[in-house]
Symmetry: none
Subunit: 249 residues, 2 copies
Amino acid sequence: MTASTLLSRIRVVLSHPTHPGNIGAAARAMKTMGLSRLILVRPKRFPDPEARARSANALDVLESATVCEDLGEALRGTTLSFAVSARLRELAHPPLDARSAAAEAVACACSEEVAFLFGNETTGLSNDEVLMCNRLACIPSDPGYSSLNLASAVQVIAYECRMSAIGAEFARVGAPAMALAPHQDVENFLAHLEQSLQASGFLDPGNPRKLMERMRRLFLRVTLEVEEVSLLRGMLSAWDKPRSRGKNS
Amino acid sequence: MTASTLLSRIRVVLSHPTHPGNIGAAARAMKTMGLSRLILVRPKRFPDPEARARSANALDVLESATVCEDLGEALRGTTLSFAVSARLRELAHPPLDARSAAAEAVACACSEEVAFLFGNETTGLSNDEVLMCNRLACIPSDPGYSSLNLASAVQVIAYECRMSAIGAEFARVGAPAMALAPHQDVENFLAHLEQSLQASGFLDPGNPRKLMERMRRLFLRVTLEVEEVSLLRGMLSAWDKPRSRGKNS
């Protein structure tokens, strides 16, 4: 598989970007590394002349960018997604560095769609946004000053993806054997799990104790396969069925 | 030797930069990776409010930048210097990629001063400038569009220097913060899961369809944490409870 095919399956998602100049600069950063699919979740200003100016000759990437209303829409169709963040978080996946994340992204892109998600310039990513993704990716930076410009962060991730992809061109280590579950199927499973936990009484909507965040963290971290999601859904349905005391036990 | 000592011996030289915004953005890019020594050869406008604005909080790097009249002055005191260029040249050193260049730079910085030289935004480096350096370093980019923004190029080189300086083992940005579940706890959970699946009717002991093997594969792959096992056990206990038709559902 060629590097450009692999890179064509990796999308860059910018959540709530404030400055149109950064959108243009991100498009340029992507194009230098062979990435082309840019998705914007509720950008403050887009399209905008400043985005065009800063994109230099990457206008094609900018003009084909998709604008979405929410992150779920932006991640639709992906199988593996990485939240890129400078901050470590308590309730999140263990972080990968940018190089390891890119290597996993490119390996997955042999057969699947992959996303890297970047947060707002000032506020970064929310915990909810991080927990919509399968992985947390961190760019190693100086602990005393870790504030990469948004487009610079895109540049480093895109560069690492390209480095992995051109390596992969020559040495393919083999695609994941099992089909991984699409993002939406995992979301549907989590919604079903929440219902079942409420029905069982274990989840009290009045005092949820971050239970669903913890379950989301577990089941996104493991990168569920298609068949696993279907088994888990079947198990939930069986548990959902009303049973009288003593029956089947 | 610490990473910060190594990085303190690597300087970034910008030759004839046109846009003060790029100087500020380069200072910011350097600081995120622990580089601090910026040298400007005949900048078009410096100091400049745009440079300050784009430097974000890397004003210290900007304010301690040195302005030189020529490249010879900028390279004074160095032992090893790298010309960073997108173009391959006939009359130049064979190019190293950014990663190999950074590795050599950091190794040399154990005892010597090192420089990375970046050219003007439009014209790049002249052949004379390239031939003032010991090495030619290229950032692998898409052959159809290799025009990295100046500060983005500085970001990639600075990032590779930091990755080399901290070494692969420390590049892992932190171990999992949560305590992992001991083997026996995971086994006990799987035994409980099997019981619950039988009680629910989903697992038929007469026709198990490798269900437990599949669940074992999933839950061992994810490396469960102590708290996750305890939540999963709690969920199973809640589902185990007999419920009459319609109650809680």
